[in-house]
């Protein structure tokens, strides 16, 4: 344990943070508000280290040790007890002290008089709850249902208890939900058709790979801790191949980098498959035992695919494809890490199926050091007690109404019988993250009431009526698991909530209390419960067995790792209808997709907007979070676009010039950065929300759906990277 830890965590009293001894009752000041009280010197300074966990939407979901001195968060460090976190945090995690104590934090519930006017009035929590409850009941009376209330929540905070927000909505009756996910749906559907569900090996197993292809992923920026295991694998003789449209930071670490034409990844996989078939390098034994439709797939490949075609489609020389295919098929175990950026295209899902097929035909499934890694939800088997709530008695629930989170503006405006009249936004910022933000703004303007729970003022809060101040990770309690590694961590409350901030479960409980006060029985959400009870209700015997523990309190000593199922599909029992790996998937066909992993043409650039604009994640922020912190702004606070020198020359742009990126949807002005890491037909604008600048690359983005996503996540994804623009000097 870190030498600095003066108090062991045992000193942390059971249950919530007990109030410090209150001094003599009489008010010291002879006018009406008591502000000070007597204290003893001993109470002044105490140091403790608390178990925290980073709840962000990130592969690494780190276990954190927070050092708190006299109730002030002094610093954060990675928890060495987790073999994935290894005592390290990324630059974002290390800046948490700047977020907890930022002067920009929203401190009190406030109501905006005139949505978007900028005139805010401070209100008490009780007034906020009353306004919201009255609006809910008014809608219920007017429409006879609570469907006009729409919740838009996603991944700003993936702490299991935060599903209490969905629970709050369920407990008032049927509501409309912004369903689906902008992030990774097409890939999930693809792997659901192929394997039955998404299931990746324990990333710490990467060290056992002898051949690793990182395909359209940039872990150096988005999964920093995984790169340690990639480095370890290279040290043990693994060859690292990176396939990506641009030379990313991860591509710069590759033994072999292959720059592929965006959205043609499936063609490369099929070209490799053809070569492997021609040279009989596939694993016939494994296929016979574990797959379905291999023959049909091989027939398709033999009849329709040639390596020359693949070379032409992808822009990769023929001999390079052949060498890649031979090395991949003959080096065992060979591992493919499929990234999320790669599936954000109109043929994204199908491309993932093509790559899955490549991994299957070479028998690299169910093996340590092998696999087709995408994501996993194995460690998410909680009770979701905070989320699953009964509707009020006397209302027979016909189920929630779903609208597409990825086309939110249009679908809110078009919703009918009943129309949508009220929005609740939590863990999300649609006005910075959604495509067609002007449509989303119109939707906001059409509402009777918009409530946003957030920590900072951003364009979404600016268009809300009521903003509710929420706590940071260190002011609330929760449980965090990852969709990549297999660790489970408890997040203890490190400090008291600042100002009048509350966390989402407390908001749910107190709103329920107000609703029942105004109309008895109108909300079934529990109105009380301390953190220990909330947490313990999330656990079940299966989780205890998976993590080899008897009681969740053991997590107070440190995070725990799953002990079973660390190698995906090792038992060969696939969750497909046939129980086998399905090249041929009737489910895919049922959803209107090709039954086989055939190639689906990629989207071509329109004539007047010839340049493809990629908008990948930035290394110092996660969507709209972190860039607003002072330490991050000190490193970079100038929006820029990466352009190839040849392209820049064509528009006589020099490095540092102000340029405009535009198409029929919108325009963005940025600084030009000339670099050969991109290609002549592609520009790169990293997706960042700068708090003081009116820059949003998504204004140029149409809500074009990706091909898959409906089956597993309820709605198709967005083809973020099929965005075509033109460029001119400003």
């Amino acid at each position: 344990m870190d030498k600095k830890n003066v108090f062991s965590r045992r000193a942390f009293l059971k249950g919530s943070f007990t109030a410090i001894l209150v001094g003599t009752g009489t008010s010291l000041i002879n006018f009406d508000f008591p502000t000070f009280r007597k204290i003893t010197a001993a109470e002044l300074s105490r140091l403790k280290v608390v178990q925290s966990a980073c709840p962000r939407n990130c592969y690494d979901t780190c276990s954190i040790l927070s050092t708190v001195e006299d109730g002030v968060l002094k610093k954060v460090e990675g928890d060495p007890k987790s073999s994935f976190t290894r005592g390290k945090l990324c630059a974002k995690g290390l800046s948490y002290t700047r977020s907890v104590y930022s002067p920009d934090r929203i401190k009190y519930p406030m109501r905006q008089v005139g949505r978007g006017s900028g005139n805010w009035k401070r209100i008490s929590w009780d007034e906020a709850y009353t306004d919201i409850a009255k609006q809910i009941l008014k809608i219920k009376k007017e429409y006879g249902t609570t469907l006009p209330i729409c919740l838009n929540k996603y991944s700003g905070n993936l702490n299991i208890l935060n599903y209490g927000i969905e629970g709050m909505m369920s407990s008032i009756g049927d509501t409309t939900r912004a369903t689906g996910t902008p992030c990774w749906p097409a890939g999930i559907d693809a792997q659901t058709f192929d394997f039955g569900t998404i299931y990746n090996n324990d990333p710490e197993d990467i060290v056992n790979s002898k051949y690793l292809i990182i395909w359209g992923a940039n872990p150096s920026w988005c999964s920093v801790h995984s790169m340690h295991f990639v480095k370890e694998a290279k040290k043990r003789g693994c060859k690292l191949v990176v396939i990506d449209p641009i030379v990313t930071q991860t591509a710069s670490k590759a033994d072999l980098f292959i720059q592929i034409k965006p959205s043609t990844d499936g063609a490369l996989a099929l070209g490799m498959a053809k070569y492997i078939l021609d040279n009989n390098l596939h694993d016939a034994a494994w296929l016979a035992q574990n797959s379905k439709g291999a023959k049909e797939f091989f027939d398709y490949v033999n009849e329709n695919i040639t390596v020359t075609w693949a070379a032409e489609k992808t822009g990769i020389p023929k001999e390079v494809i052949e060498k890649l295919a031979r090395e991949y098929a003959t080096t065992k175990p060979a591992n493919i890490w499929i990234g999320y950026g790669m599936q954000r295209h109109t043929n994204g899902g199908q491309n993932v199926r093509n790559i899955d097929a490549l991994a299957a035909m070479t028998g690299n499934i169910g093996k340590s050091g092998g696999g087709a890694q995408y994501a996993q939800l194995q460690t998410w088997g909680f009770q979701y007690n905070a989320m699953v709530q009964k509707p009020p008695s006397g209302i027979e629930s016909k189920g929630n109404r779903s609208i597409n989170i990825n086309n939110f503006g249009a679908e809110v405006l078009n919703a009918a019988e009943p129309p949508i009249k009220m929005l609740w936004i939590a863990c999300r910022s649609p006005l910075t993250q959604d495509p067609e933000p002007d449509m989303v703004k119109k939707a906001f303007e059409a509402m009777d009431l918009v409530v946003t729970a957030d920590m900072y003022m951003n364009p979404t809060v600016a268009m809300s009526d009521i903003v509710l101040p929420v706590t940071t990770t260190f002011e609330s309690t929760g449980i965090s698991v990852s969709y990549w590694h297999y660790w489970l961590a408890l997040n203890e409350q490190a400090i008291k909530p600042m100002y009048e901030t509350k966390n989402d479960v407390t908001i749910a409980m107190e709103l329920s209390e107000k609703l029942n006060e105004l109309e008895q029985g109108s909300c079934t959400y529990p109105t009380s419960g301390d953190w220990d009870s909330w947490i313990s209700k999330e656990f079940n015997p299966a989780i205890y067995k998976q993590f080899g523990m008897k009681d969740w309190q053991e997590l107070k000593e440190g995070p725990k790792k799953a002990q079973t199922g660390l190698i995906a599909w090792q038992d060969g029992k696939f969750k497909t209808p046939s129980g086998k790996y399905e090249f041929l998937s009737e489910n895919a066909q049922k959803d209107g997709h090709p039954v086989l992993p055939i190639y689906v043409e990629e989207m071509q650039a329109p004539k007047q907007y010839p340049l493809r604009c990629l908008s990948p994640h930035w290394k110092l922020s996660i969507n709209s979070q972190f860039q607003n912190l002072d330490w991050m702004a000190a490193i970079n606070n100038e929006p820029f676009v990466e352009i190839h020198p040849k392209t820049a020359q064509k528009y006589n742009i020099n490095s540092g010039d102000k340029v405009s990126i535009f198409n029929e949807r919108g325009e963005v002005n940025l600084v030009a950065k000339l670099t050969e890491t991109t290609t002549v037909d592609t520009v790169v604008v990293y997706e960042i929300w700068y708090k003081d600048k009116k820059i949003n690359i998504n204004t140029t983005l149409k809500a074009i759906p990706s091909d898959m996503g409906k089956k597993a996540t309820g709605m198709p994804g967005i083809a973020f990277h099929d965005n075509f623009v033109a460029i001119k000097k400003v």
């Binding site: 290390l94 700047r98 590759a254 980098f257 822009g315 890491t677």
Partner: protein, 188 residues
């Protein structure tokens, strides 16, 4: 024999993630503008293929520190183990050391009215702990080495774009980044 401590920056392992910068700030909670450690991107033209390579640099704890030489208030001292320490009490905030340092290491903290800089976490090292940046690097790309040892003599003392060593003889040593094979598109 006293050690001769120096930073070893392994650009082969480094992924330019800035965790070292914020690990340092997380330890000492400096102002945003006071950046004791900075991660610099290297020029693409320093390599024969376009790659993203970074160099994380704090104070180089030079053999002949220019800051110590020019400081009128004698605020700088070089410890026996080679660490160049800046004494906040003595400093008068004249900022001459900022002009004299070839690597732009000393930072001016306008709230303190003084210059501050990296002291290789002297206090932490005296307690037997690693400097915050070294401990914080997710790729273990930073280390503190003793230049006296034989095996460190052959290490590179400079990189393309790193200001020339002759001025102050910095002690920072480097492992240069190697670059893999690239099949790039549309170069014809």
């Amino acid at each position: 024999m006293a050690k001769k401590l120096a930073f070893l920056v392994n650009c082969e392992a480094c992924i330019g993630c800035h965790a070292c910068e914020n690990a340092c700030k997380n330890e000492y909670q400096q102002e945003a503008s006071v950046r004791w450690r900075k991660v610099y991107p290297m020029q693409e033209k320093s390599f024969d293929v376009p790659v993203r390579v970074h160099v994380s640099l704090a104070c180089n704890h030079c053999e002949e520190p220019a800051c110590m030489k020019v400081c009128p208030a004698k605020a700088y001292t070089k410890r026996e183990d080679g660490i160049v320490i800046h004494d906040n009490e003595a400093c008068i905030g004249c900022k001459l050391c900022m002009m004299a340092c070839p690597y732009q290491v000393p930072c001016y903290d306008k709230n303190l009215g003084k210059v501050t800089k990296c002291d290789m976490c002297a206090a932490r090292q005296d307690d037997g702990e690693l400097p915050a940046c070294v401990k914080g690097c997710p790729m273990d790309a930073l280390a503190v080495i003793d230049l006296q040892e034989e095996k460190y003599q052959k290490l590179k003392a400079s990189l393309p774009g790193y200001p020339k060593n002759e001025i102050t003889h910095p002690t920072t040593r480097f492992v240069a980044a190697t670059v893999g094979k690239q099949i790039r598109r549309g170069e014809e």
